[in-house]
Amino acid sequence: MSQEKIIEVKNLSKKFGSFTAVDNISFDVYKGEIFGFLGANGAGKTTAMKMLIGISRPTSGEVTVAGYDVKTAAEMVKKSIGYMSQRFSMYDDLTIKENITFFGGIYGLSRNKIKEKTAQLVSELGLEDAVDKLVGDLPLGWKQKLSFSVALLHEPKIVFLDEPTGGVDPITRRQFWEMIYAEAHKGTTIFVTTHYMDEAEYCDRVSIMVEGHIEALDTPKNLKQQFNVESMNDVFLKLARNVE
């Protein structure tokens, strides 16, 4: 893994009124790594991620993504990133093909490129027979995988995934992580939030967020060593206890 920083976050905070959802966090993400952004429900993961991708304005702090300052060069940042939101991010009333065409279109892909991508994508996912089916009729697991592929259509340098495996069965989760590995292998940086602690084991490095703070940040191996436990789940439990 390279030591080139692709995301730099300094003293980032977000307040909603008097409530501080993200409290002065700082971290770096390196090019090509799978960065796990962990935390319990309401820890502030989504809020932090939204500031990184430029759809929420920080109360204070600096964010640089792919070499551009999010505050001043949001347009350049947008071109370098893909995003899969925590809520399902495709149109249920459009077919698979129509969704791909639409999202390819707003990223300015040419018609031929879209055709080529569609063919490649559906064959990879084994959805050849379903291209003209409404996305709303697909099982959740397929939707998530499709969503991930669509977030990668324009070949972004970094892809942000907000709880991509929420609510799907363990087998599909495993398959999903295989897709993530394959993409990371191509050199794409993956920034992924989750609260499944077993998934943390798949990440190159993880940060653990508790109530708006980053309480720990290292490789899963080092963290387990540091806390002297067997699994990431135990790391997490220890951390949560310390905060209380």
Partner: protein, 368 residues
């Protein structure tokens, strides 16, 4: 441009695949026009009327007999004073009252003219209109007969007075009204719902993360509704003209221009509403309560503004629909040109700019 077309295509998929949208867009305008149009009939038969004969002479008796003999009218009662008119109208027993003035015969002989007043209950405006025409016809017929029998020529003048609906609303005023309501519904409510839908589903975030800027997103969402609203307005006008004989006295071009202006007003309101709400439900409620209700009540569409309490009349001035109804009525019925309606047009333009500026401001705040 290619992106824009892709965006608009997607928007049309949403619309055409949603039964509710399709109904509001295409079923509603036609249903409303037909309903209003055909509910208003022109036939009258044995209509109950009352007579107030202040003169009680041979001449008036003759006329009364003639009216009573016609199959159109039935003389329900004779009243003795003007004070009774209001109350018998309220009871709904009669549709019209004929008032013969004092000294009817004497006036005919000395001044060569006498007056009959026709007071009609205009809650059903077409009937009121028809009654007046029929009474006129009977009186004219009568004067002609007499003037032929080489007596000195004289005239019976009829004065018409309308109760309850002095502006005489009919299909001619319903067409502009329905057009206004439909344009509001399609442009304001449907756009606000379609924008909040993306917020509610979470797809708005994905759009905002894409290289599209917020303005492009909004324009892409709004454009299909401009297009559909124009089609709707055309359908309504065509139905009004060809099915109900509504005239277009003024310039069609001006009518089109004013309609597009109002569509833009409504769209800017729709965008404003979408910045204020995060769910489709809220957007729909705000649209219905904040837009449709005032449009129906305060625009003069159903209830005449002149008979409203002063505070409501004042409030009605901030309802864009009121100005639009004035404008299209003036163009369609009176053949008004822009010199006559420039003031109303300017008011609409001003309101539109205000809503656009306001929603741009609000929209920015929402992104932070």
């Amino acid at each position: 441009m290619k992106r824009f077309i892709g965006f608009v295509t997607k928007e049309f998929y949403h619309i055409f695949r949603d039964k509710r949208s399709m109904f509001i867009l295409f079923g509603m305008p036609i249903a409303q026009i037909m309903l209003f149009g055909f509910a208003i009939t022109n036939e009258i038969n044995n209509v109950n009327i009352a007579i107030l004969d202040k003169s009680k002479d041979t001449k008036t008796q003759k006329i009364i007999n003639k009216i009573s003999a016609s199959k159109y009218f039935y003389i329900e009662q004779e009243i003795s004073s003007e004070y009774q008119i209001e109350s018998i109208f309220k009871k709904g027993k009669v549709k019209a009252v004929l008032v013969f003035e004092n000294h009817f015969v004497k006036n005919l002989q000395t001044q060569k003219q006498a007056k009959v007043q026709v007071i009609t209950d205009a809650t059903d405006p077409n009937i009121a209109n028809t009654i007046t025409n029929y009474v006129n016809a009977i009186l004219q017929n009568h004067t002609q007969e007499i003037n032929n029998t080489n007596q000195p020529a004289y005239q019976i003048q009829t004065q018409t007075q309308l109760y309850y609906n002095p502006e005489l609303k009919s299909v001619f005023t319903f067409v502009p009204g329905v057009m206004t309501v439909i344009l509001m519904l399609v442009s304001a409510m449907m756009t606000s719902i379609s924008i909040t839908r993306e917020k509610e589903l979470g797809t708005m975030e994905v759009l905002l993360v894409s290289p599209l800027n917020p303005l492009q997103v909004i324009l892409g969402k709004v454009f299909p509704y401009i297009f559909l609203s124009i089609i709707n307005a055309t359908v309504i006008v065509v139905l009004g003209v060809f099915v109900f004989g509504m005239p277009i006295e003024g310039s069609i071009l001006l009518l089109a221009f004013e309609s597009i202006l109002f569509i833009i007003t409504a769209l800017s309101l729709g965008i404003l509403i979408s910045t204020l709400s995060n769910s489709q439900q809220t957007a729909m409620m705000i649209s219905l309560m904040g837009l449709m209700l005032p449009v129906i009540i305060l625009s003069g569409f159903i209830f005449p503004l002149s008979s409203m309490p002063l505070p409501l009349q004042v409030i009605s001035n901030i309802i864009p629909a009121k100005w639009f109804i004035i404008i299209i009525k003036a163009i369609m019925l009176k053949g008004a040109s822009i010199e006559i309606i420039w003031k109303e047009t300017l008011i609409l333009i001003g309101m539109t700019l205000f809503f656009i500026v306001l929603s741009i401001k609000k929209y920015k705040i929402r992104l932070e």
